[in-house]
């Protein structure tokens, strides 16, 4: 049963991701990305990582994607960008990267398959995670906060002069 669910969800995730990277319209892509992330959330749940599944949905699919939405909206140029994307995404342009990616994937596949058999699915509940988080990983949490601080300050700095300078003028 679980395995069946896993296959279905995986298929959704892969499909959504493929769609996402091929969309001409950024918003469409974003929606597929959210779908992919949600599928990932389900997978997490299936794998017994309930806490992570929740975070995936709330933070990843929720908060972070909203940022994208904002930016896409701010820069929205409508049909123009879609046309542009159509030109950019000539079929031939896919060949090289895909070949590379397929080779890399093949390598990973060999590695993973040769790794031997093991089962997953032990449930690690939020409590366990919390204990680890505030026990051995305390410093990591603190550091993560510093990471976010850096990101915050950075985003602030990058965001602010935009308002001051006149738009549309190349320096």
């Amino acid at each position: 049963m679980m395995l069946f669910l896993f296959y279905i969800t995986s298929a959704v995730a892969v499909f959504a991701t493929v769609m996402m990277i091929t969309r001409l319209n950024a918003v469409h892509g974003l929606l597929y990305l959210i779908l992919s992330l949600l599928a990932a959330g389900v997978l997490f749940f299936l794998l017994g990582a309930h806490f992570a599944a929740v975070l995936e949905v709330i933070i990843y699919a929720g908060a972070i994607m909203v940022l994208f939405v904002f930016v896409i909206m701010m820069l929205n140029q409508g049909q123009k960008t879609t046309d542009q994307e159509r030109i950019w995404l000539q079929p031939t342009i896919w060949i090289g990267p895909s070949v590379l990616a397929v080779i890399l994937f093949a390598e990973m596949l060999i590695v993973i398959v040769s790794g031997g058999n093991a089962e997953t699915g032990q449930i690690v509940d939020s409590k366990q995670v919390a204990i680890a988080l505030y026990g051995p990983y305390l410093l990591a949490v603190e550091l993560a906060s510093m990471l976010l601080l850096a990101g915050l300050v950075g985003a602030y700095h990058l965001g602010k002069p935009m308002l001051k300078k006149t738009l549309g003028k190349r320096a």
Binding site: M2, A26, L46, V71, T81, M108, V124
Partner: protein
């Protein structure tokens, strides 16, 4: 034990990872590139979750958490940069942001 083999989970994350990679390599729109990056990071998160699930340890989830943090910060900064670039270069085309070369 719910019967999902480790390999399958890892292969799935590898697939997602590679798809994200294709996105980074193919897309010219900076926003799309950033989104593809997210896919890659998410794929690695999945890998950690799968591994953690195998060992029944919280470490996998914690690594996922940290990745999440990174993703958030990176998106924040990345989008900020994308905005700046759009205003300087009047485009989000990654290929035309290539004044420096050689």
């Amino acid at each position: 034990m719910n019967g999902i083999p480790l390999e399958l989970g890892l292969v799935l994350s590898a697939v997602l990872f590679v798809l994200g990679l294709i996105g980074v390599m193919v897309r010219r729109n900076l926003i799309m590139i950033l989104m593809s990056l997210e896919v890659m990071l998410n794929a690695t998160g999945l890998a950690f979750i799968v591994a953690g699930s195998r060992w029944g340890q919280a470490d996998g989830q914690i690594m996922f958490l940290l990745i999440l943090t990174l993703a958030a910060a990176e998106v924040g900064v990345g989008l900020g940069l994308a905005l700046q670039i759009f205003h300087r270069f009047q485009t989000l085309d990654a290929d035309s942001v290539n004044e420096m070369q050689g």
